[in-house]
Structures are given as C-alpha cells and as structure tokens.
Amino acid sequence: MKVELRNIHKRFGKVHASNDIALTIPAGTIQGILGENGAGKSTLMKILSGFIQADSGEILLDDRQVSIKSPADAIQLGIGMLHQDPLDFPPMRLVDNFLLGHAGGLFPNHKEVAWDIQKLNAQFGFALDPEAYVDSLTVGERQQLEILRLLWLGARVLILDEPTTGISASQKTKLFETLRKLAEQGKTIIFVSHKLEDVDVLCHKVAVLTAGKLMGEMNPPFDQKKLVELMFGKEISLGERYSAAAEGATLTLRDLAVEDARLQLSNVNLELRAGEVVGLAGMEGSGQGLFIRACCGLLRPVHGKVTLNHLDLTGKSYHVYKQNGATFLPASRMEEGLVPGLTLTEHFILAEETQGVFINQERGLVLAEERIRSFNIRGTPTSVVESLSGGNQQRALLALLRTPLSLILLEHPTRGLDIESAIYIWGKLKERCKQGSSIVFASSDLEELLQYSDRVIVFYSGKSTPPLDARSLTAGKLGELIGGAGWDEWETEQSA
C-alpha cells in the first residue's frame, strides 16, 4: 500500500515535534526513518498509527485521503505498529493475545486462531507456540508475535519502532529476512531506527528527521558520513578504545554454577582486574543474565564461590554486595533501575547514604543540580524520571552510582540510545575505570562489545567461553560463537 504524508504538523506545548513533514512511501518499500532521540520519529509514527492525531496535515493511503483517529482505525485501514516495548499482555497465552485485539466475535474460536498462528509461523519460519504464555517469550519472540498478530489483523503497512534493540543477532537476521519477504509481497515497511548499520543493510530508502523536521532523504548506496551529518548536524567519531586494566582482582568467580528454571550455567571462572571491562556476548537468554546476577547476589549460586574485594560473599544478598561496592544496572531501566513518579532529586537522595531521619532538601537539590550538569541530563531536579528520554534515563542511572565503586555490572548499557548518548555513556564509564572500578556488561551490539571490552565472555545456551582477549577477536568470530559455531576447543575443556 502506498503511504503519503502531506504537511503534517504536531506541537506539544512549545515543542514542534512534527514540522511540516511530507513523505511518500511507495508500496513494497522498506522505508528507513533515521534520527537521534527526540527527533520526532516516534511522534510521526504515532500519528500514522492513530495513537495521536496531527494538528494539521493529510494522510493518504493508495492516493485516498483517510482520517485516523485511533489505533483501531489504523489497523482497520491496514496500518499496524510495532512498539519499542511491545504492547502485549504478559500473563496470557499467545492465542488469547491474538483474540484480544480482534474486532467482533463474541465467542472466539481458539482452535482456528491457533491454526492461523501455525500457518503464519510456517510462512516466516518462526516457532511460536500458540499455547505458550507471552511472558515466557524473549523480546525477540514477542516482536515476532506482534508482527504475526498485526499481519493476522490485516496490516498492509508495518511500522517498526527501533526493532533491533534488545534482540539477538540471529533474531535480527531473521527479522530482516521477514521484512524483506513482506516487502516482496507488496507490504510497506517503515523502519524507525537510529542505527546506521541496520538502515544500511535493510532499507530501500531513508528519511532523516532532526528536531521535528525532515532534513532529507537518501537512496542506496547510503553515505554514512552524510547521514550522520544530517542526524547530528556534525560528524561524530567513535572514541578510542581504551584499556585501563590494572593489577589486583576486584571480583573472583571460582567454579561457579547458577541456574534458573530454563537454563543452567556451570564451571564459570573469572578473575576481574580493577579497571577492567569485560563484555558478555550472546543471544538473549543464553546465560549472560544468570552470570551477571550471580556476580551481585541477585541469584544464589548452586555451586562455587564469589569473592568481591577479597571478601567471600557467596550466597549473600544484593544489598551486601552493594555495601561492598558492587552495583548492577539492569536492562529495563524503568522496571529495575528508576522509580517512576519520583523526581531526579529524590533519586539522588535515595541513592546516597542515608543520613539521619530527615532529608536535607537543600543539599539534595544542590546534589541534583550538580549531577544533572556533570552528566548532561536533559531535565530539571524536579523532573520525574519517566518524563526523560531513554538516553537521559540511562545518564540518570549512571549519575546515581556512588563513588567509589569497585564493580559496575550493566545490561545493555546503550540499548535504544543514539550514537551521541552511547558515546557519552561510555565516556562516563571509562572515567570510572580510571578510578579503579571494574565493569562487566552484557550487550547484543557486537561493535560495542569489541570497542569497549578488554575481555569478552561469549555465552551460548548455558555454555560460556573463558574470558577472551578482545583484541584477538573479530566481529566475525564473535558472531560465529554467538551463533553456536566454533565452540569445539572449549567443549573438550569443559567436559574434562
């Protein structure tokens, strides 16, 4: 279906989030929408998918002007949107999730729907079990589910908002394959991202948004440099790889074994040096999560020993680890990091040592202002954290870290952030390393892993490599390992 936007305007108070946007996307096209955080990508897509309405402007589908007042209108017209955080209903079965958004039919036919899901599965090579519960799915699987659901509802235009964050490399490959197949079928794909490399390999054409304006469009081959300039108005280069590894172990893992309901991880050994950065690679749910949680007392190891700063903390709780200088920033910032409804100032007060009974509000304010400045957070001391953009939330989380710290554990530290923010975040982390903190981070971004790690541990369905020197690794090699190839040399070692 051909999609055409004409003179779209949308203001939020003083912010002109969509400023005279005009864009035509022919049927069968994969259209990339690039822009840094806050550039107006999401606003535009929400207008198209009926979540919000434009102040003025026209939307034409196949040259017919339409009015989209709600997501239901949108899906009726064949427009489906995949959100950055898929809007599903966790504690229910896939079939029910399908039926929920389905218009009409008082008595839903489960069997038929399950059959439809299987058919769609076969078409795209997915393996979703209609009877499984949605909350048991990985982020990638939820995304697949959402695509199937939208297609099942009759979507002919699919909007994907940052779809490659939080999914594994192989899931990404599969996603791209699926999108190409859909485009061949004549469906229109709108791919919103800030990742140049994704846009590069996938899109048929790209539009760049900055501060609510359409800065320009480009056809392949894409000139990355030019795109970056369009996005940021200047050229940005990645920072130098920096290794501050000094001697002396911060964290020691001895023959560690941990498990949860789905996965077992055993025989893990690590001696983490002060100032060192260790990256954890692997597909979502391959064991990095277990590993990182075992390092800070959130998971009790079934076997082995965890030593932090020469103290045996095996089996102790997270709060004991925290008292001894370890801290963990999980991937889900708003669920396991920040407290929605509380202001930045309140967060800084909470994160600092409790002093007495009463809070010194003035000192809190000073602290907040200082941190906001030094971490370049776009917000005020009284901003509630949910009003911040993803990048600023991540900066706030980093700003919450106490000094000194001996161990910082992170999951996807730059997921969903634009390049500028990502570079900034790593700059701050590297400062910590210089001060002697060790960092362990999990990421699905190969470049990030190779760029910032001193050593990398690769996980594959509950197996882990010994820490590998990052300098000896290439993206290709890493990709292979993540995909489960080339493990022979450690297979024997582990079984021995």
């Binding site: 919000i52 309405q53 997270y318 709060h319 925290k322 963990f328 920033l329 999980p330 708003m334 669920e335 396991e336 990091g337 920040l338 407290v339 929605p340 409804g341 509380l342 309140e346 967060h347 007060i349 909470l350 994160a351 409790t354 002093q355 007495g356 009974v357 009463f358 809070i359 509000q361 009284t382 919450l400």
Partner: protein, 345 residues
C-alpha cells in the same frame, strides 16, 4: 507544573459539582427540597455545639484510619484489612482494660495501657496481612478482606462467649466499663480531647514522614517500583512490613479510642466502616497528607449532618454515604479523564 495544578483543581472542582448535581437530583427524586436538605445537613453538623462535637467525635477515628492508609498507599499497598485492624485494636484495648480493671493499678495508667494494647493489636493484625503478602504471596486485598472477617468473628465470639455480660447473650456488646476507665471527655459529651489530640498528631506524623524523611522517601520508592527500590538499596519487604505495622497501629488506636471514649465496651461492628471511609478519603485527596484534616472533617460533618435528613425530611440516613461514594467515584473518574486529556493534548 503550575498549570497542571490548576487543571487538577479544576477537575476536582468539576467532579465535586457533578457529585453535588447528582445528589441534588436524588434529593429531588426522593421528594426533599434540595436547598432545605443541604441546609439541614449544615445545621445538623454545625448548628449547635453538641452537633459540632458529634462531628469531632466522628472525625477522630477517620483521621487515624486515613493517616494509616496514607502510609500503606505510599508503600503501594491496598490495606483493605484496616477495618479488621481497627477491630483488633478495640479487642486488644478491651482486653487490656479487663486485665487491669480489678487491680490496684491507677485508672489513668490502665487507660494508657488500653491504648497501647489497641495499637499493638492493630499492628499485629496488619503484620499478619503483611506476612501473608510478603511470605505467602497473598495479595493484601484478599488477605485483608479475610482478616476482616476473622476479626468480626473473633469479636462475636468474645461478645457472646468469654466476655459476655452475665446472663445475656446479645450482640449489644460487653458490659460497659466502669466510668473511671473511660478516656476523659469534655464534660457532658463523648468527645475526648486525648482522642482528638492523638488523631491530629497521627496526621502530622504521617505528613512529616512522607514529606521530609528518608523513611517516607524509601517507602514511596517501594510503593512506586519495588524492583527499582530494591536495586537502589532499599530493603523492600521490610519497608512494606513497616508500612503495615504503622497503619495497623493507627487503626488499632482508633479502635481503642472507640472503646475507651465512645462506646465504653466492645461490640461487633465497632470499626463502623471508618477504615473503608479512610480509604475513600485517601483516594479523594489523591494521597496528599496535607488535605487529610479538612476532607476528613468534611466527611465527618456529612456523616453527622445527614442524620437531619432522616429527622426532618424522612430520608434514609445512608444519604451521606451516597454523597461520599459519589464524590470519590467521580473524582477518580475525573482523574482518569484528566490523564487521558493531558496525554492527548
């Protein structure tokens, strides 16, 4: 921010007016001239010193239960069990008085013991709900409801069983305590300055706790996002438990005051719906402690004033309840509508 406050106030006022409109329609439908009816409520609440005192008597337990649920709400907990906690407070207070009434302990001390027993009883009952939630995974709403039933059953057992009046088996309650064990009241009234004083103190304590202390901030963090609070180093289940205990102690004190100052005995239903009413007040004021004092007073005045509707206009006395519930309902709906509108704007 400032603009939001005004929009907020506008919505509250709108909801209030709408509630007033609906109740006016109900009044007309019931055959009572609305203006006169409202006049009756006003004069019933403030028309005489006696009436004003009746309002204050009703105000005191409402302050305590509202103060209590503000704590649990801050911790993200729906302490529906507050009725039972108040009941247990009454039972424990009665127990305390009974233990010492025939001893040489000075009456003032016995009265104080009764109040402390009441607080302990309420806290104990709240701790049970908290333990069920923390260690048993039972949602506090269901645990609380269950414990409310158990508390009522326990009162009935005591009133008809071990603590019955000699030769009597009636729901009317236990034998009234000797006058020396009554919490001192203003002469000729059932208004206890102690009761009012403690209740206001409770509100002030809660206000300060939630506004300016680490305890309050951590409680709020737990209430808004337990996982994040834990990651920020807050001992989360302990704080939930604290919230339950504190709320239970306030509710228990309310129950003890009902025993020592109002009824002078234990009777079934002694919590009188004050706990639920406290939940409503808390919702109505959007969990802002600063509003407890006036709004609880307003509710108490409605309670007392609407008795006149029955006397003068032969209406059912549940009218006050209808107006209160309508108010809360409409204000909650208004908040929902406001959020929707603001999101769209």
């Amino acid at each position: 921010m400032k603009k939001n406050i005004w929009i907020n106030l506008g919505f509250q006022a709108g909801a209030f007016l709408l509630a007033l409109l609906i109740t006016t329609l109900i009044l007309i439908f019931a055959g009572a001239p609305p203006l006169k009816a409202y006049g009756s409520i006003l004069s019933g609440a403030f028309g005489s010193q006696k009436n004003l005192i009746a309002v204050l008597i009703s105000w005191s337990p409402l302050l305590l239960t509202t103060a209590g649920v503000l704590i649990t709400f801050a911790a993200g907990l729906w302490n529906i069990g507050i009725e039972g906690q108040m009941t247990l407070g009454a039972i424990f207070a009665t127990w305390g008085l009974r233990l010492f009434q025939d001893t040489n302990v000075s009456p003032a001390l016995i009265i104080a013991i009764g109040l402390l027993f009441g607080m302990a009883g309420g806290a104990l009952w709240a701790a049970l709900a908290g333990a069920l939630k923390t260690f048993g995974g039972v949602n506090e709403i269901f645990g609380g409801l269950g414990l409310n039933f158990v508390a009522t059953a326990l009162t009935i057992y005591l009133v008809f069983g071990p603590w019955k009046r000699p030769g009597v088996g009636s729901m009317s309650g236990t034998k009234p305590f000797d006058e020396k064990l009554w919490l001192s009241t203003l002469p000729g009234t059932a208004l206890s300055p102690w009761g009012i004083g403690l209740s206001i103190l409770a509100v002030i304590v809660v206000f300060i706790l939630l506004r300016g202390t680490y305890f309050g901030l951590k409680l709020k963090a737990v209430g808004k996002n337990m996982r994040s609070a834990f990651m920020l180093g807050v001992p989360t289940w302990q704080y939930s438990m604290f919230a339950f205990l504190l709320c239970g102690a306030f509710a228990g004190l309310a129950g003890a005051i009902q025993v020592e100052a109002v009824y002078h005995r234990l009777l079934p239903n002694i919590s009188n719906g004050y706990g639920f009413l406290g939940l409503l007040v808390a919702m109505l004021i959007n969990y802002q402690a600063i509003w407890v004092i006036p709004i609880a007073f307003f509710f108490a005045a409605l309670n007392v004033g609407s008795i006149q509707l029955q006397i003068v206009h032969k209406m059912d006395s549940s009218f006050a309840g209808v107006l209160q519930d309508l108010l809360v309902l409409l204000i909650l709906l208004g908040q929902g509508a406001r959020e929707r509108l603001l999101k769209k704007a």
